[in-house]
């Protein structure tokens, strides 16, 4: 480190190679965000696949991986979703060790507030469901909330009083960029080719089976199996392959404040008043808002949503009323009708999609990659993935997490 300091920090070794793409890979993962890189990493690590490429049109982790509010939790209501997110949670708990890369996973707890009697009944139901599934959870009353978060107005004199909350102590936050970089470095060391700044322009299909992709920068690249992990752009890729997905892409925005002294050592979320907040290690308040109600690919959000969220945050935390906001941005989230993801085979053979994580994909990053790698390697879903087929929207077996699991939107 001293040597590098004397060399103006210019000679650090690269964390991953920048290879030229080969003509053929056994597996191509389209999308170099957290989920895509995790998929490639587990393909190489768990399934011993050596011929794997990740194709990314921009830079690694430049989409929603770098745009989320870094919350990790697994307190979902329905069994299928709870098992999937808890699988991810267990991987989070050993992730820094596994990758030998500090992802700064901090289990500081997540609180989902209830503001009326129905909220509290739903919270009790969800916490009970979580505990039956082996997921930690507690129901707190307003006094206990106040003890954990002293700066929160739990007085009962607000427009939407805090009556209590669900509390998952094992939940928390992680450093989003480090997750992408850790997986990228890990995958690269296991022989995965990470090809950046290479945009997929078409999916090559012969006799109803995908055989490769066409790219703007490197021409055609053939593949045995293709996994698309492109979040908001999944619909565009599905269009190339000739089918539609039950997905709409919406802007979801967040903002961070100027750095201030530590005031909040946990994560507070409220679905009813629609805002959530945590404090980063730098001291910025990280505030999440709701989605815009219309389809949009511009990576920005609308002003009414900012105003709405700031109202909620100021009512909950009067102390922050004069904190200035530093940055505001939007990410494009791929929302499904039941607020659950799609991990699925498609009408095109050898083409698989991992998408539809909507507003809560970051928390699932390790689990998503682990399960999707299994699906790609074996060609059929395992027990965790089978409920998340895209064909559930035909047979009606939806997993309705809308509003059920503290899904905020």
């Amino acid at each position: 480190m001293i040597k590098n300091a004397l060399q103006h920090q210019e000679n650090w070794q690269r964390m991953w190679r920048n290879p030229k793409p080969k003509a053929h890979y056994d597996f191509i993962v389209v999308g170099g965000g957290g989920h895509g890189l995790a998929t490639a990493y587990y393909l190489a690590k768990v399934h011993n696949q050596s011929s794997v490429a990740v194709i990314e049109k921009g830079w690694l982790g430049g989409g929603n991986t770098g745009r989320n509010t870094t919350i990790v939790r697994s307190n979902y209501l329905w069994d299928e979703a709870a098992h999937l997110y808890e699988h991810a949670m267990k991987l989070w708990e050993g992730l820094s060790q596994d990758l030998n890369y500090n992802v700064m996973f901090s289990q500081r707890g997540v609180m989902n507030l209830g503001h009326n009697l129905q909220d509290m009944r739903d919270i009790e139901r969800r916490v009970n469901a979580n505990r039956l599934n082996g997921i930690d959870g507690e129901v707190l009353d307003a006094q206990q909330c106040k003890e954990i978060v002293p700066i929160m107005d739990c007085s009962g004199s607000t427009r939407y009083p805090v009556l209590g909350a669900s509390w998952q102590p094992r939940a928390g936050v992680a450093r989003h960029d480090a997750v992408a970089w850790g997986y990228a470095r890990g995958a690269d060391q296991l022989g995965v080719d990470i090809i950046q700044q290479c945009e997929v322009t078409d999916i090559l299909i012969e006799d109803g089976a995908a055989v490769g992709v066409d790219t703007r920068q490197h021409g055609q690249i053939k593949a045995g199996r293709i996994g698309c992990v492109a979040a908001g752009n999944s619909g565009v890729l599905a269009g190339m392959a000739g089918f539609e997905l039950p997905i709409e892409s919406h802007p979801l925005q967040a903002f961070v404040s100027e750095p201030i002294k530590p005031i909040l050592d946990t994560v507070v979320m409220s679905n009813a008043v629609h805002g959530y907040m945590s404090q980063s290690d730098k001291g910025d308040l990280v505030i999440g808002a709701g989605i815009d109600g219309y389809v949009g690919y511009g990576q920005r959000g609308s002003y009414p949503v900012i105003e709405h969220t700031v109202h909620a945050i100021m009512e909950l935390f009067p102390i922050v009323s004069r904190v200035r906001m530093n940055r505001q941005w939007g990410g494009i989230v791929d929302t499904t009708p039941d607020a659950c993801p799609i991990l699925s085979a498609t009408p095109v053979e050898n083409l698989f999609f991992n998408c539809g994580w909507g507003t809560g994909g970051f928390k699932a990053t390790p689990g998503s990659g682990h399960v999707f790698a299994d699906l790609l390697a074996k060609g059929k879903p395992n027990k965790l993935a089978e409920a998340f087929t895209m064909f559930r929207f035909y047979d009606g077996a939806l997993i309705d997490e809308h509003g059920a699991a503290g899904v905020a939107h």
């Binding site: 539609e244 609308s302 009708p337 929207f393």
Partner: protein
Amino acid sequence: MFVIYCPYCEEHREEEEFHASGQAHLARPLDPDNCTDKEWGDFLYFRKNPRGLHQELWQHTAGCRKFFNITRDTVSYKILETYKVGESPKVNLEDASHG
């Protein structure tokens, strides 16, 4: 912030008066008793999600409360036209996306 022209009120009003209701021109199956699961699934859940021009149904919830349609670009967010339910759009999506 969108400033949307309501074709019924014949006025430009701000986005907050309106509610986006998803894709426009969804026709309920004519013979619902004899639809396959796929036809129902397509009608209920599968939506166009274009990166570009999109026809959407909006409601003037804090105004006349009537539904109308918008042709809008989902990348630039430019609104090309608004038209009443039952009317045909003037912007042809195919022509506009190639032009």
